[in-house]
């Protein structure tokens, strides 16, 4: 078996994500690479939640519409997803609650008999599933011990009872001889990348789908050496972070589009005052509240054009957990090297999906900013050849450090003199050349698939996962810019120069990357856009690309 996809579904409150998580780790521990997609509505109880866990021998970063197994904790999970089942697929269901064909196990009865609580039906489901898949009991027992915090022994009993109730192997998943990798979400990768680059403070107001960065860092504060703060609003968040950066702390903020809208005045201040700061923006469908727990790539234009006035920023768009890790580290280092705002542009699909993480943590290191040498009188905005003024922080030197939202002289005192205004604006914008030189040392555009192909799937962010698999299947080339501002136009033109047909694939309604490239003279031939809040799956995109090519 090369791969297997399993859907587990129930209502909110059934512990679907937790069960999916346990299942993902189970498959991870027998050597598979994992992609875990979590689909849930914006509510706490009721509704319909499901997760799709895809496990494969090779690295994957997308899921498929079709699945091999459905685990149904309620009737909806069968009724809504039966059509997804591949031929020969199986439905494992709670025989007490669900009417279906397939393998019925009385999860309710098992939990009752062992005096568990109703949510433990998910443990019973995982136990039965491990039986169906012929996974050794000891592996499941180990995973339960490592993942479940409360009532471990009871959960093990329940899982074992369900495991033993399966008398026949339905779909054997053989153990693979591959090393196990950590399973982390995009949000966790962002958090860890920032920590590795020296993050001191993470400041955020809760907003789906970015909240998990705050939760994760808050939970691991002591281990990671980070202080987390949850202030009164996103306005407070961004301004607090600027205060922290002024004092010398490496700070990062995270939110989604609506929260970021409130941060834009602080963003503009970071432009004028030359504050190093990292903004993580995890996109979801808008406009406005939109569809809070689903995915979209509709804030690309917003991110690159945000903030009033003219100032430099860098926008990086990771498409998987390794990129999320590296690029967040890079964003942190660039922010401090150049004293500019840097963005990590993610989306729900990347941030909340879980991937096998195969990165070298040591590739991200904190890089020293340019610090004042202590000679002479300190000028916060010293006009230098490359526009970068040495940094000093209040309290740790003789420097008097004056930062300001006003146009200012080198010392940081307000000015309205025309010559000064021009000089300081030129000083700030002069950094562009150095930033571009620095970025050119890093991979800015990725290319996958058949490099000889003249048909290109153009994508950015989390859409890459599905694009790569489709390209491999059809012999096409994939081009994915990692840097969206300043756009690496020369690199893009180079990899697209011999393309006959460029098909832009984006999760938004207007093709924002296509527009951006068109403005730079790159002609897009076709667009495949999805904007129902769902990400591209491999099989869905395959059909769409075939339609475009036929």
């Amino acid at each position: 078996m090369k791969e297997i996809s399993i859907l587990i579904g129930g209502k909110a409150g059934d512990g679907i994500r937790q069960a999916g998580h346990t299942l993902a780790r189970l498959l991870n521990r027998i050597g598979y690479r994992i992609f875990f997609y979590d689909d849930y509505p914006s509510l706490i109880r009721g509704g319909h939640n499901f997760s799709i866990i895809r496990a494969s021998k090779k690295k994957i970063q997308a899921h498929k519409e079709k699945v091999d197994l459905i685990v149904a904790l309620n009737q909806d999970a069968v009724d809504k997803h039966r059509h997804r089942l591949n031929s020969g697929g199986i439905i494992l269901y709670d025989s007490e609650k669900v009417d279906s064909q397939g393998v019925g196990v009385d999860f309710v009865g098992i939990v009752k008999e062992l005096e568990g609580v109703p949510i433990m039906r998910n443990t019973a489901a995982i136990g039965a599933l491990a039986g169906i898949l012929d996974i050794e009991w000891s592996v499941l027992e180990g995973v339960i011990k490592d993942t479940i915090e409360k009532e471990v022994d009871l959960n093990i009993k329940i899982a074992q009872s369900a495991y033993n109730s399966i008398e026949k192997v339905w779909l054997s998943v053989p153990k693979l001889n591959q090393k196990m990798l950590p399973l982390i979400s995009g949000n966790e990768a962002i958090a860890l990348g920032a920590v590795q680059a020296g993050l001191n403070m993470y400041i955020a107001y809760p907003m789906t789908p970015a909240s998990a960065i705050l939760h994760y860092l808050a939970e691991h504060e002591d281990d990671l050496g980070v202080v987390t703060i949850h202030p009164e609003s996103e306005i407070g968040v961004a301004l607090m972070a600027l205060g922290a950066a002024y004092a010398g702390a490496k700070a990062m903020v995270g939110t989604s589009g609506g929260g970021f809208a409130l941060m834009t005045e602080a963003l503009s201040l970071s432009g004028q005052g030359e504050f190093p700061i990292v903004f993580v923006m995890v996109q979801r469908p808008g406009p406005s509240t939109g569809v809070p727990t689903y995915t979209m790539q509709s804030d690309l234009s917003f991110a690159i054009n945000s903030g009033h006035g003219e100032f430099l920023k860098v926008v990086l768009a990771p498409g998987n957990v390794e990129e999320a890790f590296y690029l967040t580290g890079l964003a942190m280092n660039l922010a401090w090297k150049f004293q500019i705002p840097c963005f990590v542009l993610s989306d729900k699909h990347l941030s909340e999906s879980i991937f096998s993480f195969d990165a070298d943590p040591d590739k991200v290191k904190p890089e020293d900013p340019l610090l004042w040498d202590g000679q002479g009188e300190y000028k916060r905005y010293l006009d230098t050849q490359n526009g970068i003024s040495p940094l000093a922080f209040p309290g740790n030197s003789e420097a008097i450090v004056k930062v300001t939202s006003y146009e200012h002289d080198e010392y940081g005192i307000t000015t309205e003199e025309s010559e000064q205004i021009v000089r300081m604006q030129q000083k700030r914008l002069r950094k562009k050349k150095t930033i571009e030189d620095e970025l050119s040392k890093h991979e800015q555009v990725k290319v996958y698939g058949n490099l000889e192909s003249k048909t290109v799937l153009l994508c950015w962010g989390s859409t890459k996962g599905a694009c790569i698999e489709v390209a491999e299947e059809l012999g096409l080339k994939v081009v994915q810019p990692l840097v969206l501002e300043p756009l690496p136009i020369n690199s893009l033109k180079k990899v697209l120069s011999d393309a006959d047909k460029i098909i832009d694939v984006e999760v938004n309604a207007t093709g924002q990357l296509a527009k951006l490239l068109s403005a730079h003279g790159i002609c897009i031939d076709d667009m495949i856009l999805r904007f129902d809040g769902r990400p591209f799956t491999v099989d869905f995109l395959l059909e769409k690309v075939k339609e475009v090519l036929s």
């Binding site: 281990d223 005045e265 006003y406």
Partner: protein, 286 residues
Amino acid sequence: MTTVKELGTYAQNTWCPGCGNFGILNSMKKVLSDLQDQGLDLNKLVLASGIGCHAKIVDYLKVNSFYSIHGRVPPPITGIKLANPDLVVIGHAGDGDAYGEGIEHLIFSAKRNINVTFIVHNNRVYGLTTGQFTPTSPAGFIGRSTPRGSPEEPLNPIELMLSAGAGFVARGFAGKPKHLQLLIKSGIEHQGFAFIDVLQPCFTFYNTYDFYNQKVYELTDGEYDSSDREAAFARAGEWAYGEGERIPIGIFYKVRRPTYDEKLLKGRIPVKLKPGNIRSILEKHI
């Protein structure tokens, strides 16, 4: 050592002659100089301001400063204090800043008890935008946005701060600099959020010198117990920022409580924190 004179900068002062801000600026210089004499390292001091006439104070003082945007003084000073709790942080704001655009931040600063001093230059009019009513202008105030008189009642910031949980609530008058200096000094020395509303006449758009000179009186130790929250509310209610006969100035309320920075940081100093080892965390994800 920096002398009072050396605390000034080369920036040209553009406040109107007679502006109440001078009283606050001079008081600040005196207080900073005195605190320096008592051992405060001025390199550890950070001043912040918002936007408006008051905010120019950071251009006029040769100390570390963060010239913020309108309404947004409390968040950066909170960030500064949390990033490096060794710093002594003072925020200046106008009444438009503190009680209008940024009121949420002010309330939260009091609620959290962040250990900073917050001085409101309350002239009860927008000066720099040439004369509109503010949250503390009296009802009926005739300004450029309310030519037929403001339809709103003023906010009482003393009551607001007491309600929000501030542990140090004071009111000063820019026309009584010696008294103001004592308040500011007490505020800086207070461990916790120290709020000082400073009545500050605007010579050009709302000249209240005579009004205040006739009505202010000082709350003095011995006659007034600043640890009594009920008494503080009673005094705060004596004048509601409209008409009125007697306007108390001084420390309305003062109580030491654990500060936000103490509770949140538990001794950690973020600017000195070293990142942890993520490898051991990653292992838990297998």
